[in-house]
Amino acid sequence: MNLITGLSMLDLSRFQFAMTTIFHFFFVPLSIGLGLIVAIMETLYVVKGDEQYKRMTKFWGRIFLLSFAVGVVTGIIQEFQFGMNWSRYSRYVGDIFGPALAVEALVAFFCESTFLGLWMFGWDRFKKGVHLAFIWLVSLGSAFSALWILAANSFMQNPVGFKIDHEFDRAVLVDFPALLTNHQLWLEFPHVLFATMLIGPFVVIGVSAFSLLRRKTEVDFFKKSVHIASLIALIGTVGILVTGDSHAYNLQFDQPMKFAAMEGISEDVGGKDEQQPWSVVAYTNPETHETEWSLDVPYLLSILAHHDVKGYNKGTETINKELHEKYDDKFGEDMNYYVPTNTLFYAFRVMAAVAGVLGLLAALAWWFTREKSTFDITKYRWVLWIFALSTFIPFFGTTAGWLITELGRYPWVVYGVLTIADAVSPNVSFASLFISNVVYFLTFTALGGVMIYLTRRVMIQGPEYVDETVDEEQAPADPFSADAFDGQGGKN
């Protein structure tokens, strides 16, 4: 504990982990989602031979590359920080967690980065079909990356396939395939993939709306782009609601404290023949852990949690007692099993609201951009403004989702196996941690700022900018100027 600031090493380490993963996770789903859209656009180009789709591939490809670059560099932090900040964690579960990360690098990262290089610089060197295969390999690689890192996270949420080696005081792997058959993984992985299908499309929808607000050129280009994006977003919405529901449902059994906090239940609720109300808003006193007030909708919790009109759930008080009974032998009586209830409660509502709003907006965007549609959206600036600002909405949803997932696992870093307090590096100094927190924060602010600035610039240059590079590319004298997005950048 540091006397001056009142912050402990553990606080700083946790804050740093949260900051680096949240920032990283802005760009990862954006890259995966945009990568999918770009791949679909290029597929349409190859199948239909319509140049407009090639222009779309290149234009949205520029934004995809920006987000990919930031995603990659912030990803390196992730791999290093387990050893740097969480060395005791690394020793304790390295036998299990390490392989997932190593396989991710070997299977996914090489694939993504190599084929992205070929895609970026290979526009005029390959047959259309081969070039198309590159972007799909990038997409496949990023999906594999998500699979393996979520397999690692799923182990932390719901540890499987291991035993405790008391001689070396560590957890060791006894069943490697179990990491991939972990049911937690098959709740998380699809949920995250569907989230990418909201983030990517809404950046396309938002940037299109911003563009049309600036000037009414290239209307066909942006309409077609939004039509594709909104269809993907609709699939994403349905998917995220279905997987989100089964995810939350399973939490009742896997991590009851997380579930109770998400629903703000401090006392047991319902019974064999009783309905359970669902709180729209509520406040739980962080000291007494009692719900002080709430606004309830009858029956709704039973429907959500049991897919029935009646049901029963334990409140945080009961769960706290049960956890003490179960774990006091191992972790001692002083453990605090309460999680930050209000944060989880509202994060869950933010996440659900984001999904609902985005679903609605996606449906509208799809409707407005049908070929048959007679509605001229460019005349309604306020509608465009709504779509433009919707660019930022999905990021609140993903951040809320991770806050629930990670904060709700408290006090453990590996559920029921290792506490967060026992995971942190003992030898990293307070000064080091403080410096790295501050510098990371400044770096991320700068990167985020430049990223938004450049996205805006790509938008202002518009699809026409891509046309110029296309022309230059086809000049046989200098095939390397092809480097798809090179050329006049900065010179005009």
Partner: protein, 337 residues
Amino acid sequence: MPSVLQILWFVLIAVLFAGFFFLEGFDFGIGMSLKGVAKNDEEEDALIESIGPHWDGNEVWLITAGGAMFAAMPYWYASLFSGFYLILFIILLGLIFRGVSFEFREQMETSKYRRLWTTIAAVSSFIVPFFFGLMFADVVKGMPMNATGDISAGFFDYFNIFSIVAGVAVALLSYMHGLNYMRLKLHNGSLVQRAIAQLKVLYPVLLAGEVAFAVTLYIYTDFFTNKPMITLGMLVVIVALTLAAWYTNIKGREGWSFLALGLAIVSVVFLLLIGLYPRVMVATDPANSILLKNATSTPYTLKWMTVIALTMVPIVLGYQGWSFWVFRKRIQVKGEK
């Protein structure tokens, strides 16, 4: 005695780091040459283009080395990464800014900001190899640590004559490796001529640096006491490869020159890891050094990882090699004949 699997993974991690320094070595060299050799925008464009499709894939060698270390030797990974917290933090910042610099530079509006990102690319391309050289020198020198492997060290444990010499040597090797790569990838022109002129001066400097490295290695480490013949042999190999690179450089055989200096870099990595063996971390108090046989994951995990690595590595080498072959054509600086 470590088991066969443990030795295999020690070798594999050594190979991954060697691959990283060989491949990213020239990326860093090209990055530094943006300030060291290039004189205008067109030359900078051509240099970045020469590594454009490859540098990201090359960097994955480091990610994989780190991942392999975590998976196969968690006790090494935990001790090294937490013990060199600030050094690795600086390396991370270097990798972050180098990583975005090319893309950001490309998209900048004014030449002022383009130049800013060029400078960032050059500086970060120096920082990463310098601090990696420094860190690995400190690892073989030995650090104050407890029996668990937690390092608690002071400024001069990190920054000393040996580690600074090693850092400078690795950065210089990377720079020259980049210049050699430039000769291979670019059409001959004034840019390449300047690189050749620099190389002529730099080879004697590098040899002096290697001698300084050997002397400080003798003073600061136990390499010459533990394994005098191998250490001496490896040092001779490094110097011989440097001489070969120098000679072929004068003769205009740029391919051989590139290969020889690249192998010199690989030899440096192997020298350090051979001297490290059978330890993975050297402690100031020898009783606390972490031994390979105690540092690894279970045989079960190592077996799985071996199967996966032996399946995936040939595939990765295949397509990564193919991407180099696809872009084998030399690059012309715009506006030059």
